[in-house]
């Protein structure tokens, strides 16, 4: 059902955790629907230098969360804002059709974290 890449990110999710002194925090999803992602970013010189996440959700939600942290690290805020859900799904070699909605989570949570960062700075 899942691609090898999804399973890899699901089994070995990158950047799990929290950043206590994060510059931006975003949360997307809700427990009612079975998917919540929370993402912490650390920004230096308009560039995302660290990122962590926690996710409650299925393998697709965990893998997209993990993948977006990999995609975003080192990117400028402007670059990071351009990351789409489709790009995340593609980076994972695709998701099963019924799981496409889970891939919306990660990019949306990231956007919220960036908004949070912008609002504070």
């Amino acid at each position: 059902m899942y691609s090898d890449k999804v399973m890899d990110h699901f089994q070995n999710p990158r950047n799990v955790g929290e950043i206590p002194d994060a510059d931006g925090i975003g949360v997307e999803g809700n427990a009612r629907c079975g998917d919540i992602m929370k993402i912490w970013i650390k920004v230096e010189d308009n560039r995302i230098v660290d990122v962590k996440f926690k996710t409650f959700g299925c393998a697709a939600a965990v893998a997209t969360s993990s993948m977006i942290t990999e995609l975003v690290i080192g990117k400028t805020i402007e670059e990071a804002e351009k990351i789409t859900n489709t790009a995340v799904a593609e980076a994972l070699d695709g998701l099963p059709p019924v799981k496409m909605h889970c891939s919306n989570l990660a990019a949306d949570a990231l956007k919220k974290a960036i908004e949070d960062y912008k609002a504070k700075h």
Partner: protein, 385 residues
């Protein structure tokens, strides 16, 4: 890799004895049971013997057994067949909120056609109340369908008591006994039922074959039309091998029930006790009115599919009421009917044991499960442990 199969409520493997009983009907005795010649008569005889076996175990008559393509079809035939047959008498139906989709979806179809359906709630133990049923009965109630044991949480429903009232009120009583066969008494007279659904693949028989008990005198509008098979109640060339397999599986399940069930129950109890040691874990459904092979628990703060896949990576096969495993966006309607909040329902795990599970397997699960739960909780934004 070591594998531990704990999803017997989803399906079971075909037992050696069952497959052996089936094999002759693929190649040697392959005739069409409707044919006049010896090949056909051989197939017919096999069907007759299978029907006799099933009838005997259900305490029914030979002519009261209809073979179908599975539990789903049996439920559809019982419910839509009876509703359409008796709609002149009334258009009110009663069922429960925790039925299998193979009961609920036919009911919803009938609602669209103009029938009224009462969905009885369950208490927090997952049991339908006989009193609630009694109160729901109306003058135009023609059929009640309540499952014998629930497929998710294993709770056992008071079928005999409901059936007794139904009979007194002249209401047809159907029960979906797909999950109870091999564990509970399925005597149709003791249960006071007019219609009873069986499926072979839950009792070490083949997939794609089931049966419907239809009490003498009860008429059903056929759902699949064509030839005159199954006393004109279900058309289509009979799946001889499958039907022979169903009968054999039922015979074995029935014969071995007394010996096998206590063994399974003991293993289940040990597994359940171990699992309940994990903090923030609760059992779903009654502890006592429950199939002896069923465990259904919720682990707070984590999601079911992730849990299942992690278990799967350790070779452990279970199931979950999580939305993500059902192809829908909602978690299990059964867990919601118990009053569980959505977020907790998403974190459910069902483990259903079978006759071949061992003590060593239970040890292995109890070794693997707690660290997985802990790891997922550490990843969960909901957990502050």
């Amino acid at each position: 890799m070591k594998t531990v199969y704990l999803d017997h409520a989803a399906t079971t493997s075909v037992r050696d004895e069952v497959l052996e009983a089936m094999l002759p009907y693929f190649k040697d005795s392959f005739g069409n049971a409707s044919s006049v010649h010896s090949f056909g008569r051989e197939a017919k005889k096999a069907l007759d013997t299978a029907r006799e076996t099933v009838a005997e175990i259900l305490n029914a008559d030979f002519n009261e057994i209809i073979f179908t393509s599975g539990g789903t079809e049996s439920n559809n035939l019982a419910i839509k067949g009876a509703a359409h047959q008796y709609k002149q008498r009334g258009t009110h139906l009663i069922t429960s909120a925790i039925e299998h989709p193979a009961v609920l979806n036919p009911m919803k179809e009938l609602e669209k056609e103009g029938f009224t359906v009462t969905y009885l709630p369950v208490n927090e133990q997952g049991i339908v109340s006989v009193e609630a049923f009694q109160n729901a009965v109306r003058d135009d109630t023609i059929l009640v369908s309540i499952m014998h044991a629930n497929n998710e949480i294993g709770t056992i429903q008071p079928i005999a008591a409901i059936g007794k009232i139904a009979r007194e009120r002249g209401i047809l009583m159907h029960t979906d006994a797909v999950q109870s066969v091999g564990y509970l008494n399925i005597d149709v007279d003791d249960l006071n039922v007019d219609l009873l659904t069986l499926s072979a693949h839950k009792i070490y028989g083949p997939k794609g074959v089931g049966a419907l008990y239809v009490r003498k005198g009860v008429q059903l509008v056929p759902q699949i039309r064509g030839g005159a098979q199954e006393r004109r109640k279900r058309a289509g060339t009979e799946n001889t091998a499958g039907i022979v397999g169903l009968a054999k599986a039922l015979e074995l399940a029935h014969r071995e029930q007394a010996a096998v069930v206590p063994k399974i129950e003991k293993l289940r109890d040990r597994l359940l006790e171990g699992i309940l040691q994990i903090p923030h874990t609760r059992l779903n459904g009654s502890r006592t009115e429950r199939l002896p092979n069923n465990i259904n628990v919720c682990f707070e703060f984590i999601e079911g599919e992730s849990l299942l896949l992690n278990l799967d990576l350790k070779g452990i096969a279970g199931s979950s009421g999580s939305a993500c495993t059902s192809g829908s966006l909602e978690p299990s309607h059964v867990l919601l009917a118990l009053g569980l909040p959505h977020e907790i329902a998403h974190g459910s795990l069902r483990l259903t044991l079978g006759r071949d599970n061992t003590d060593a397997e239970i040890d292995y699960v109890l070794e693997c499960l707690p660290p997985i739960v802990e790891r997922l909780r550490q990843m969960s934004p909901l957990y502050n442990g």
